[in-house]
């Protein structure tokens, strides 16, 4: 018998903050707790609360190159947030739950593959850790992530940009008007994963109607064709009409309806900083929607009624939706060499700014264009921490489904970089064997993480 329950891990991290007055502080989920407890939803037979669990350092290393080491970039709170997502996923895969909500902090969707510090309130990417965990521990191959945060999920995009088995869809406020300034329709994924990244920028001020236009006319049709085995919702709530950082005008009910339509296996909380006016209501509505309950009685006190959307901006969204549907429908007919060139490697330069930690990073990312697998990736990264302090590291990532040739070439690249004095740290992440290496030049030492064997 298939279980019909919705699992919840509520981890408000009441003793963790980036800084005392930072939006990502102890108080953030306090009123959400009050609302959820007072409603008595945890007593509903369809909802089961789970105790959180810590992710392992190995789970993090499967996704990120943390400089210098995983332990220096994550606190226990990060491990608990990521571990809660994998805990619920385990229960879903085992059939104990039909879906789940990791209502946890801290968030993660701005954390990229290489981590020099905190950016956009994030250190490690909870959804990406979950994806790699699902592949390694449960053999799940095709996964979709839909990011409903007001900010572009640039970290998640970065990590899966060359991954043909992970579909990443993000709708967010137009990057020209908000952090992190990316997420435009032309960011569509690398040569091996073209149209596996879809970005829908939304002009400020739009509300539920346009939100659902995008969901109905773009997101749901694409998902239907992609046929993911597992759907993750990066459930940011800062598109809400009261959010202090965003300028969109979505409501709790709009979010709940989206959750019902998307029907994700797991929703993972991301941003959302209207801690009194939005979060208690949006979180409650999402939880009810996941559990299949009526959410029409959830209404924010400041609820504006129907809002009038600017028709010119709505038309802009409709054009983007049409354009992206075209891209999606023609994804297999498009001439990739025309877009990405014909070299054996595709490379891109990235400039990454860590707004929380004031770090400037320059990256050269190269992906092997392999006919037999998604290709291995190398990243040459230099981070400037200010005050003349900088780090240069070299990272090699072998995908889960790598072919033997790519694997061999990648190990060669790692060995070669170990011999180059300019790199303080050299990393190798072999997802195909779940083995991770890190070389520290000053100490002349190499660390190996093989993690627990599958099934342990």
């Amino acid at each position: 018998m298939k279980n019909n329950k919705t699992g919840l891990v509520f981890f408000p991290a009441f003793d963790w903050a980036i800084s005392p007055t930072h939006p990502e502080r102890e108080e953030r989920l306090l009123y959400t707790r009050d609302q959820i407890f007072e409603e008595g939803v945890l007593d509903l037979p369809e909802i089961e609360e789970y105790a959180p669990r810590l992710a392992t350092i190995h789970d993090i290393a499967r996704v990120h190159f943390c400089v210098p080491r995983v332990q220096s970039q994550v606190t226990e709170a990060h491990l608990i947030a990521a571990g809660s997502a994998t805990l619920l996923a385990d229960a879903i895969v085992h059939g104990e739950l039909k879906n789940g909500f990791a209502l946890v902090r801290p968030p993660g969707h701005h954390a990229m593959r290489v981590v020099h510090g905190n950016r956009g309130f994030c250190n490690i990417n909870n959804e990406a850790i979950l994806v790699e965990y699902l592949r390694r521990h449960h053999g799940i191959k095709r996964i979709a992530i839909v990011d409903s945060d007001v900010h572009h999920g640039d970290g998640t995009q970065d990590i899966f940009y060359h991954d043909p088995d992970v579909l990443f869809i993000s709708f967010h406020q137009d990057g020209r008007t908000i952090y992190p300034g990316t997420g435009f329709p032309n960011e569509l994924g690398g040569p091996g994963a073209y149209a596996r990244t879809i970005n829908i920028p939304l002009p400020p001020g739009l509300g539920d109607e346009t939100f659902h236009y995008v969901v109905d006319n773009l997101i749901l049709p694409i998902l239907e064709e992609f046929k993911p085995e597992f759907i993750i919702n990066s459930a940011g709530q800062d598109n809400h009409f009261t959010d202090p950082l965003g300028s969109m005008r979505f409501t709790a009910r709009g979010y709940a309806e989206f959750t019902r339509k998307l029907n994700p296996h797991l929703a993972v909380l991301e941003g959302g900083y209207a801690i009194e006016t939005a979060l208690p209501y949006v979180n409650l509505a999402i939880l009810l929607a996941l559990a299949g309950h009526d959410y029409s009685y959830v209404r924010e006190p400041e609820w504006p009624g129907t809002i009038l959307e600017n028709p010119e901006r709505v038309a802009r969204v409709q054009r983007v939706v049409e354009q992206l549907r075209n891209v999606w429908e023609n994804r297999d007919r498009v001439d990739l060499d025309k877009i990405f060139g014909t070299g054996t490697f595709f490379q891109r330069r990235k400039h990454i700014y860590y707004d929380t930690d004031y770090i400037e990073e320059e990256q050269l990312e190269r992906v092997r264009r392999c006919p037999n697998c998604p290709g291995y990736i190398t990243i040459d990264s230099r981070a400037d921490h200010g005050y003349g302090h900088s780090n240069r590291v070299f990272c090699v990532s072998i995908p889960f489904t790598a072919c033997g040739a790519c694997q061999t070439e990648a190990y060669d690249a790692y060995e070669q970089a170990r011999g180059l004095a300019q790199y303080q740290f050299v990393y190798l992440q072999d997802k195909s064997t779940d083995t991770f290496l890190a070389f520290d030049r000053d100490k002349g030492q190499e660390w190996v993480s093989e993690g627990p064997k599958v099934g342990e």
């Binding site: 891990v9 991290a13 108080e27 009050d34 008595g40 007593d43």
Partner: protein
């Protein structure tokens, strides 16, 4: 001298304690009239003892349990202000429910005003349906009781002789549906309970006892009988609390133990962690409704000494019901007690009949009498140990909302298994062996419940929430809302204020001497930051009097 009486479902047990020693004990069958059973047991232990020597009487009773189970109370209507949130169709309340406009938010601010015409209308309809009792409950009324008070005043203005119960006075914790149920049950049982209390007081004073009278609550604390009139529902399910405290009193302090109380058809399991009984994280389920009643974490397993054992195909099944005494005691069907008798683990009943019972079960399976008996006992032991493991797992799986709470979680397993109750003797050593623990059957195990009642401490608690931005504070247990006048109000001052209120509360209940050694059980401070500036603090503190038992009870020295 202290007296403890536990009026249980089948037996009423009583003990008389004198400076830590058991002076007398009694066991009488519980009859329909609970009061007469209580007095019979009391009279038996009081034989030859002057009433004036008794300093303290504590009893636990199923009076409320029975009232509720048999629905022997007057109908109660509900007037609710749920405001936005869960759909009211998800609420399952067993009576006529009127939902009216009005809403308060999590910080006690009004978000939707009341409409008094709706109150009048709801009350008129309740009146037309013959109700004279009504429970008025609002969502977040524990953060601001204004709406509840206004509704109550309006109802009483229309119907001055009605009994109106308010949610914030019954249950100050968060969880609206549970507050509704708790308020409903309080409203329903209060009058009948008051009658019972008055009869007990009269009967006891007739016996010349001038000591204080207390009643045991489900959380193992006691309340002066008079004070319990305010919260009758809290006296429900006090039986398991009595047994657990009894074990606490009869075993060395600081142990981590499982209490296994094997009765006729059920086995109650409770945990003592480092010497303290474990409280359930959520309120008790009463008559299949979830309440705010704080109770010990007790798991009832439907298996006991008198459970019916039947062969089904090649397997045996132990049923939860009882169809009379065990076969060896003249009953109709084989039971676990018969198996114990065959194995020599009990001396109850007739060994030949016990062998006959095992023969009936085992012959078709080709099993000898001894083999069958050990199979039956193994099955009982497996069922119980499985539940004990599950209880510890559930306790480990309690949610944690702070990093340090998650990190300090560790696997705890008991060191002893303590058996009480009639069926314990035969099973406890084997249960302990399976769990790798020491088996303990304390002296006076059959009356551990009455001993637990006798030594249970009175408990009082005060929960204070202060919102310095709004300049208000609330005393949850008193339903009091006050203003903060001091500009420099902080956590320390909140704690002082909470202690003051606890002393006041203690004085009101005549418990002045138990405010020594107060415990702070919760301390939470949140800075409220708006636009990068700290605008105030939310402070939650809970202080309580010491929980547990007054003293450990020694061996020997009975008057028998």
């Amino acid at each position: 001298m202290y007296i403890g009486i536990d009026v249980g479902g089948t037996c009423t047990d009583a003990v008389l304690l004198d400076r830590g020693l058991v002076r007398a004990m009694a066991k009488v069958p519980t009859r329909e009239d609970l009061l007469s059973s209580l007095l019979e047991a009391l009279d038996e232990i009081m034989k030859g003892v002057e009433g004036e020597l008794v300093e303290r009487v504590v009893f636990s009773t199923t009076v409320i349990t029975n009232l509720i189970a048999e629905k022997k109370y007057d109908p109660v209507g509900l007037i609710l202000m749920p405001g936005p949130g869960l759909s009211p169709s998800l609420y399952r309340f067993p009576t006529d429910t009127y939902i009216i406009q009005g809403a308060i938010d999590y910080r006690g601010r009004e978000i939707i005003p009341l409409r008094l015409t709706e109150v009048d209308q709801a009350a008129a309809e309740l009146a037309a349906r013959g109700y004279r009792k009504v429970a008025v409950v609002g969502k977040f009324s524990c953060r601001n009781h204004r709406h509840e008070k206004e509704v109550a005043a309006r109802v009483l203005w229309n119907y001055p002789d009605w009994h109106v119960e308010l949610g914030h006075q019954v249950a100050g914790q968060l969880n609206f549906p549970r507050r509704v149920v708790s308020t409903y049950l309080t409203c329903a049982t209060r009058e009948k309970y008051q009658f019972f209390v008055r009869s007990v007081q009269e009967a006891i004073s007739q016996r010349g006892i001038k000591g204080a009278i207390f009643i045991l609550k489900a959380d193992g604390g006691t309340l002066p009988l008079e004070s319990s009139l305010e919260a009758p529902v809290e006296t429900i399910f006090s039986g398991p609390a009595a047994s657990t405290l009894g074990v606490q009193a009869l075993t060395p302090p600081g142990e981590t133990a499982v209490v296994v109380d094997i009765g006729g058809t059920t086995t109650d399991l409770a945990l003592i962690l480092s010497g303290q009984p474990l409280l359930a994280s959520r309120g008790a389920r009463v008559d299949d409704m979830l309440t705010h009643v704080r109770a010990l974490a007790v798991k009832s397993v439907p298996v006991g000494g008198d459970s019916v054992v039947e062969r089904v195909g090649k397997d045996i099944i132990i049923y939860s019901e009882r169809l009379g005494a065990p076969y060896c005691l003249g009953g109709p069907l084989p039971t676990p007690t018969d198996a114990l008798r065959v194995l020599g683990l009990t001396r109850l009943g007739d060994v030949d009949r016990a062998r006959e019972a095992m023969q009936m079960l085992g012959a078709p399976l080709g099993l000898s009498v001894a083999e069958m008996a050990s199979r039956v006992t193994t099955r009982v032991i497996e069922t119980i140990t499985r539940e004990i493991e599950a209880m510890f797992c559930r306790w480990e799986q309690e949610p944690a909302y702070r990093v340090w709470e998650v990190l300090q979680k560790k696997k705890v397993r008991p060191s002893t298994v303590v058996g009480v109750g009639g069926g314990a003797a035969g099973f406890v050593s084997q249960i302990a062996a399976r769990l790798g623990c020491y088996p303990v059957i304390p002296p006076y195990a059959p009356v551990a419940n009455a001993i637990g009642a006798a030594v249970a401490r009175p408990t009082l608690q005060v929960t204070l929430r202060a919102d310095t931005e709004q300049g208000i504070y609330i005393i949850q247990e008193e339903g009091y809302q006050g203003k903060i006048t001091e500009r420099s109000f902080n956590e320390e001052k909140a704690l002082e204020l909470a202690k003051e209120w606890l002393c006041k509360r203690a004085a009101r209940h005549g418990l002045e001497d138990c405010v020594e050694g107060l415990e702070v059980t919760r301390r939470e401070v949140f800075n409220m930051v708006r636009d990068w500036v700290t605008v105030g603090r939310l402070i939650d503190v809970t202080v309580q009097t010491r929980r547990g038992i007054l003293y450990h009870v020694g061996v020997g020295g009975t008057s028998e």
